[in-house]
C-alpha cells in the first residue's frame, strides 16, 4: 500500500482533545456530526469517504446517514478545493451592487468558471447565496473571512496581495 492509499483509506483526527470536547457538549452522539465534519474538513480540506466512515463510527450511525447529512450542506466539499475559496455572494442586494461584475472579473482574471479551481490549485471560484451582510454589498468571503463593499480595484489589490 502506498502512502497515498493510507491517506485516503483512513482518517484520524489530529486533535483528539477537540473531538472529546465536542462529544462532551451534546446529550447524544449524533448531534456531534456537524462539528466533527467541520473539524475533519479543516484538517483534510474536503470530506473524503474515510472521513465519512470515521465520523459514522464515532457517532454510531451508518456512513450513509453521515453522507445524507454531508451532501445537504453547501459548506462541505466532496472534492479538493483551492487554497483560497473565493465565495462571491450572488443574491439580490449584492447582485444590485456589482456582484455579477465581480464574478466576471475573477473569471477573466484567473480563467476559472464558477465551481472551478485554478490550475495551480490556488483559487476556487464559488458563487454562494446571501452571506448575511447585505448592507455591505457586494460581499466576497475568502475562506473564513468576509470582505465587504469592495470595488473591483480594491478586490484586485486584495487578491494580488495573497502570496
Amino acid at each position: 500500500m502506498s502512502n497515498k492509499d493510507i491517506h485516503e483509506d483512513s482518517f484520524q483526527y489530529t486533535d483528539s482533545d477537540k473531538v472529546e470536547k465536542i462529544f462532551s457538549q451534546y446529550p447524544d452522539k449524533r448531534s456531534a456530526t456537524l462539528p466533527l465534519l467541520h473539524l475533519a474538513q479543516t484538517q483534510g480540506g474536503y470530506i473524503t469517504s474515510a472521513i465519512i466512515n470515521t465520523v459514522a463510527k464515532l457517532t454510531e450511525i451508518h456512513p450513509a446517514e453521515v453522507m445524507d447529512c454531508v451532501s445537504f450542506y453547501t459548506m462541505f466539499y466532496s472534492r479538493q478545493q483551492g487554497t483560497y475559496k473565493l465565495q462571491v455572494c450572488q443574491t439580490l442586494s449584492c447582485s444590485l451592487n456589482g456582484a455579477d461584475d465581480i464574478v466576471d472579473h475573477i473569471t477573466q482574471k484567473y480563467g476559472t468558471q464558477p465551481g472551478e479551481t485554478t490550475s495551480d490549485g490556488k483559487f476556487t471560484l464559488l458563487k454562494v447565496e446571501c452571506l448575511g451582510s447585505c448592507g455591505t454589498a457586494p460581499v466576497i468571503q475568502i475562506n473564513d473571512d468576509y470582505h465587504e463593499g469592495l470595488s473591483i480595484k480594491e478586490l484586485d489589490i486584495l487578491l494580488d496581495s495573497i502570496p
Partner: protein
C-alpha cells in the same frame, strides 16, 4: 419619535463593546440578578406583558411561546438561539453578535431560566466563522465569571451554553429544520404536530428564539414590560433593528421603534436612493415578503399589522430597495434562483415548483417566453404557496413556510410589474 434612544445598539460604536468588562460597566448582567430572584412563571408573565414578538420572521409572541413548554416535563428542556441569519436582506444578528454578544447571552440566560432549560444552544450559520470564534471567547468569559455553568451567581440555577455551527443551508433557519440539523441530520423541516415546544430537539421540549428577540430580554427585565410596551404600536411594540440594503446611499442596520415609516427608513436613515434615482420597489421584510411598489412603500408603517394590510409582512425587517435601474425580471429570477437553491426538497410543490420557476424565468429572460408563461407564473406560485384568503393565511401546501416564502415575492413581482415581464416576450408573441 425623534426622542427614541437606541436600546439594543446603544453602545455598538464604543470600543470593546463586545467585552464582558464593557458590558458590565454599562450595567450588563444586572437583569439576570433580578431574574434569579423571580420565579420562572413571573419572568414569563413579564415577557408576556411586554408584548414582545419574535424578531426572527414569524413575529410570534415570545412569552406565549414559552408558556407552551410543559411545566412538569420529565425530559430536559432546550432553548436554541437562532443565529442562522440567512434571510436575504437581513444582517442584524451578525451585528448584535459582533458588538453586543453579552447582551444576547444575558437574554439567553433569562429565557433559559424562564422555561427551565439547563443546556442552551446557539445555532450560528457556518459562514459566520469570525462571529463563532468571538462567541467562543464570550461564552468562555461568562463561564469564568460564574455567569454560566453551575450555580450561576451563587443561585441554584445552572446553565450550559453550546455554540453549534451550521454548514450552509438557509432552511436551517426554520426552527424544525434547525433542530434536525442540530441533531446531526440534513435540515429537513418536520411536519407539525408535534410542535417543538412539546417535542423538539431529541424529542424534548424546545424553544427557538432569534438573536434579536433574546437581546431584548435584559432590557425588558430591567426597565419593565410597560416601558417596552410603550415603544411603537401596541400589538407589536419595542425597538427593532431594520436592515436596509440594495440601491440606497447609506445601507445598514438602523434601530428604530416598531412602526417607523418605511419612507423615513429609506430616505432618511439610509440616505435615499443611490444616485438619487427613482425608487421602484421594496422588500419590506426580507426576500420572503411580497414586494411593495414605490407608491405603496411611500406610505406604509413598518409594523406587523400595517404590512399585513398591504398583503406583505414585516418578516425579518430586512428592507431591500430596488430603484429605476433594476430590471424586475432579472431581480425576480435572482430571488427564484435563491429559493430553488435553498429548497430542502422534501415537499413536492416546493422541490418541483421552485425549479420550474427558475427554468421558466430563465427562458423568459432569454427572450423565449410566451404570454401563457406569465399566467403560469401565477399558477405555479399559487400552487407552491398561494393564498385562499390573506386573513386566513396560506393553503398550507408545504411542510414549512418556505413554500409561501417563495410564492409571495415571486407572485408580487409578476403582479406588480407585469409590463416588464411582457417586455421580455418576443414581439410577435405579444401581438398575437
Amino acid at each position: 419619535m425623534s426622542t427614541f434612544e437606541p436600546v439594543l445598539t446603544s453602545n455598538i460604536t464604543k470600543e470593546n463593546s463586545h467585552t464582558l468588562d464593557f458590558y458590565q460597566s454599562i450595567g450588563g448582567y444586572s437583569a439576570i440578578k433580578k431574574v434569579l430572584s423571580m420565579s420562572p412563571l413571573e419572568v414569563i408573565d413579564v415577557v408576556k406583558a411586554s408584548n414582545l414578538r419574535g424578531r426572527g420572521g414569524a413575529g410570534f409572541p415570545t412569552g406565549l411561546k414559552w408558556s407552551f413548554v410543559p411545566k412538569d416535563s420529565e425530559k430536559p428542556i432546550y432553548l436554541i438561539n437562532n443565529a442562522d441569519e440567512s434571510e436575504p436582506g437581513t444582517f442584524k444578528d451578525r451585528l448584535l453578535m459582533n458588538k453586543a454578544p453579552h447582551q444576547m447571552l444575558e437574554g439567553m440566560i433569562i429565557a433559559s431560566y424562564a422555561i427551565g432549560c439547563h443546556t442552551s444552544f446557539i445555532y450560528i450559520r457556518g459562514e459566520f466563522y469570525r462571529e463563532y470564534m468571538l462567541l467562543e471567547k464570550v461564552v468562555a468569559e461568562a463561564y469564568e465569571n460564574n455567569l454560566l455553568g453551575d450555580n450561576i451567581l451563587g443561585s441554584d440555577y445552572s446553565l450550559d451554553v453550546v455554540i453549534h455551527r451550521g454548514a450552509g443551508a438557509y432552511i436551517c433557519g426554520e426552527e424544525t429544520g434547525l433542530i434536525e440539523s442540530l441533531e446531526g441530520k440534513r435540515g429537513w423541516p418536520r411536519i407539525k404536530p408535534p410542535f417543538p415546544a412539546i417535542e423538539g430537539y431529541l424529542q424534548c421540549p424546545t424553544v427557538v428564539n432569534n438573536v434579536e428577540t433574546l437581546s431584548c430580554l435584559p432590557h425588558i427585565i430591567t426597565r419593565g414590560a410597560d416601558w417596552f410596551q410603550s415603544i411603537g404600536p401596541e400589538k407589536g411594540p419595542g425597538p427593532r433593528l431594520f436592515c436596509v440594503s440594495g440601491r440606497v446611499k447609506n445601507p445598514g442596520v438602523f434601530e428604530e421603534p416598531m412602526g417607523i415609516d418605511l419612507k423615513d427608513l429609506i430616505f432618511e436613515k439610509a440616505g435615499g436612493i443611490t444616485n438619487d434615482n427613482k425608487l421602484k420597489a421594496v422588500f419590506p421584510g426580507g426576500s420572503s415578503s411580497a414586494i411593495l411598489t414605490a407608491a405603496e412603500a411611500i406610505d406604509v408603517k413598518m409594523d406587523f399589522e400595517e404590512l399585513a394590510k398591504k398583503k406583505t409582512m414585516l418578516g425579518s425587517a430586512g428592507v431591500i430597495v430596488m430603484d429605476e435601474t433594476v430590471d424586475m425580471v432579472h431581480a425576480c429570477l435572482n430571488i427564484a434562483r435563491f429559493y430553488a437553491h435553498e429548497s430542502c426538497g422534501q415537499c413536492t410543490p416546493c422541490r418541483e415548483g421552485t425549479t420550474w420557476l427558475v427554468k421558466m424565468l430563465t427562458r423568459m429572460v432569454k427572450g423565449r417566453g410566451t404570454l401563457k408563461d406569465i399566467n403560469m407564473l401565477f399558477e405555479i406560485t399559487d400552487n407552491i404557496g398561494g393564498l385562499i384568503d390573506f386573513s386566513k393565511g396560506s393553503y398550507g401546501k408545504t411542510i414549512c413556510p418556505f413554500g409561501e416564502a417563495v410564492a409571495w415575492p415571486i407572485r408580487s413581482f409578476v403582479e406588480k410589474f407585469k409590463d416588464e415581464f411582457i417586455k421580455y416576450l418576443p414581439q410577435e408573441k405579444v401581438a398575437a
